[in-house]
């Protein structure tokens, strides 16, 4: 039984393989392959030989692919349903307005891929060729990869445990033929678990340019963002800034603004101040955002006059500034 007051200690989550037993000391530890936990572990021989202190064999392949990508941006949140996928899509569409910019979107939300629906390409399939899996193109300079393209029907549940998810993510980084990209935007699932650790692990060598954190104004969401900030610090991801989504609802009839999700503890702005990260801006709640996503059309193009469009575009400009683009 574990100590009750403190969560069980794990040495370094990045070096605990997905198939390792509960008390794995970490494959890069001096005890790798030698502790009680190692007895019976499938990796024991490899770990004991010391080979696991060497890097993962897929890493050179990933580095090779990623060398053609200028900027890698993660969209993270901690909490689900706050608008990560929606934001990822707007970022993609906004970048792609410039015909000379190539953008790729990688959806690593394996159990709940929304990216294909938001881009209106849910019925597409991935094709593979000698140079790898080709992304599905929304337009010439905007490619998308998602597990959603690989399922027989959208109703199927992806009931995968961590190792299988990690395997697919590794393939997404190493086998997708993105070509040259100016931006690769990675949409993530909520939480801080296998997917997030894997992204960090696979991109360790090529580097992540930064993460955009998304939240909604209420405390229940902010709690999870605090955890995500803690995670970014632990694994060394640079935080570009925080976006507050669904802050305030402007009624389409009388234009009165009301707070649906009240910032009872000061919202994203206060959280950003407290944690010393940049507050990138607030996007109001606009029912047409949900509708555009459901129909797979670009909200920014369809409703250029919405205050939400202005907010998105200002935030995106600021992100480019911060990245120096």
């Amino acid at each position: 039984m574990i100590a009750v007051q403190a969560p069980p200690n794990i040495p370094n989550s990045l070096s605990v393989p997905a198939n390792a037993p509960e008390h794995c000391p970490g494959t890069d530890s001096d005890l790798a392959g030698k502790t009680d936990a190692c007895a019976g572990c499938a990796n024991q021989d490899i770990c004991a030989s010391g080979a696991t202190k060497l890097p993962d064999p897929s890493l050179p392949l990933i580095r090779e692919r990623m060398s053609n990508v200028k900027r890698k941006i993660l969209v993270l949140s901690g909490k689900g349903g706050v608008g990560k996928s929606t934001f990822t899509a707007q970022l993609g569409w906004a970048f792609a307005v410039d015909e000379d910019i190539q953008t790729g979107i990688m959806d690593v939300d394996i159990c709940g891929p929304s990216i294909p629906t938001i881009f209106g390409i849910a019925s597409e399939q991935v094709h593979s060729s000698s140079s790898g899996w080709s992304p599905v193109y929304v337009q010439d300079n905007l490619g998308v990869m998602s597990v959603g393209f690989m399922l027989p029907t959208s109703k199927d549940a992806v009931m995968w445990r961590g190792p299988k998810k990690n395997g697919l993510i590794s393939q997404f980084f190493k086998d997708v033929d993105w070509g040259d990209l100016d931006y690769l935007i990675v949409d993530t699932p909520p939480g801080t678990s296998d997917e997030h650790l894997s992204i960090v692990q696979y991109l360790k060598e090529s580097g992540i340019d930064g993460a955009v954190l998304i939240t909604t104004p209420q405390e229940v969401a902010l709690q999870d963002v605090r955890r995500e900030i803690d995670f970014c610090k632990k694994v060394g991801i640079r935080i570009i800034g925080l976006v507050e989504n669904m802050s305030g609802f402007v009624c389409p009839n009388c234009k009165t603004e009301s707070q649906i999700f009240k910032p009872s503890t000061g919202g994203g702005r206060r959280l950003a101040e407290e944690t010393g990260i940049e507050f990138l801006g607030a996007v109001p709640l606009d029912p047409r955002i949900g509708k555009s996503a459901d129909y797979g059309v670009s909200f920014l193009d369809e409703y250029p006059d919405s205050p939400a469009t202005t907010a998105y575009l200002d935030i995106i400009d600021r992100i480019k500034d911060i990245l120096g683009d």
Partner: protein
């Protein structure tokens, strides 16, 4: 008619629990935790002697301590000879009928992240199921993380010995992206043969505070439509309720002038518009459970 049940620590521990209800959704942020909280509160008030437990298995994003107003350093789990002692949300009113357990109680400080891969989560869930001293419970509500992955598979695996007492409620919001994930979640329940008590459509329509008109912030009706198509019981829809957000954000903390018969979360919650509607849903859930 005794069937052969695997005798595991989980089976033994859950022997004293009559009904286990999983709250599932597929998509995050649709209101699993708020529905779990409300379901627990409503089951609690369904009878003056009802004993309810709530187990939060959203290990990397636990919301339950906050929603129940028990998230601070003073709320920690204690070890006793017969297991981990849960935190009682109704202790304030001198009772111990509403037991809460969450990984949130194990964290040193707010904002600490729990960065765990699958095997670690699996071990934690097994421990939650086998080591918590719930005592006799009429209902154990389990709040889950989004998706259909490690946590869900582990729950089903470890509860194999008590499966006849386990069922699920699915929560969705009206948008297509949420419904799609709700379908995936339904497929999951079918694959693992988990009975579904019904579907709840949350955040369906918004009653304007100024004119009282219902406007569709996130459209409406998709959940009911899905229930009909899939032959599920539709438990009802809950509107967007800003007061509810407030109550759950603070776990009912703050001034409470009422006479102290109820703990403040319950009395605050009862005043929300949503509480009225949820009562009916709870009846639907209870009738689905049978006896």
């Amino acid at each position: 008619m005794s069937t052969v049940v695997e005798d595991t620590p989980v089976t033994r521990r859950l022997q004293s629990v009559k009904h286990i209800i999983l709250v599932l959704s597929g998509k995050g942020g649709v209101g699993k935790s708020s529905v779990s909280t409300q379901l627990a509160l409503n089951l609690y008030s369904s009878s003056p002697t009802a004993r309810v437990g709530i187990l939060d298995v959203d290990l990397t994003g636990p919301s339950i301590p906050r929603m129940f107003g028990v998230d601070g350093p003073q709320y920690a789990v204690h070890q006793s000879t017969s297991g981990w002692v849960p935190v009682y949300a109704d202790a304030e009113s001198g009772e111990q009928r509403l037991a809460v357990m969450s990984v949130g109680f194990l964290l040193k400080k707010k904002g600490d992240s729990v960065v765990w891969r699958g095997p670690k989560k699996n071990a934690m869930i097994r421990q939650f199921l086998s080591d918590v001293r719930w005592g006799e419970l009429d209902y154990l509500v389990i709040d889950t993380p989004p998706g259909t992955s490690d946590e869900h598979l582990s729950l089903m695996e470890h509860m194999a010995g008590v499966r006849s007492r386990v069922s699920a409620v699915i929560v969705t919001t009206p948008q297509a992206v949420a419904l799609m994930d709700a379908m995936k979640c339904l497929s999951f329940t079918r694959v693992v043969e988990l009975p579904v008590l019904g579907l709840i459509e949350n955040m369906s329509g918004y009653v304007c505070p100024c004119c009282g008109e219902v406007s569709n912030v996130f459209s409406t009706g998709g959940g009911e439509e899905m229930a009909r198509r899939e032959g599920l019981k539709f438990l009802g829809s809950l509107p967007v309720d800003t007061e509810l957000v407030d109550v759950l954000d603070s776990g009912g903390k703050g001034s409470n002038e009422e006479a102290r018969e109820e703990f403040s979360l319950l009395s605050k919650y009862r005043k929300t518009a949503t509480a009225m509607i949820f009562g009916g849903m709870t009846d639907g859930v209870i009738s689905g459970l049978g006896s």
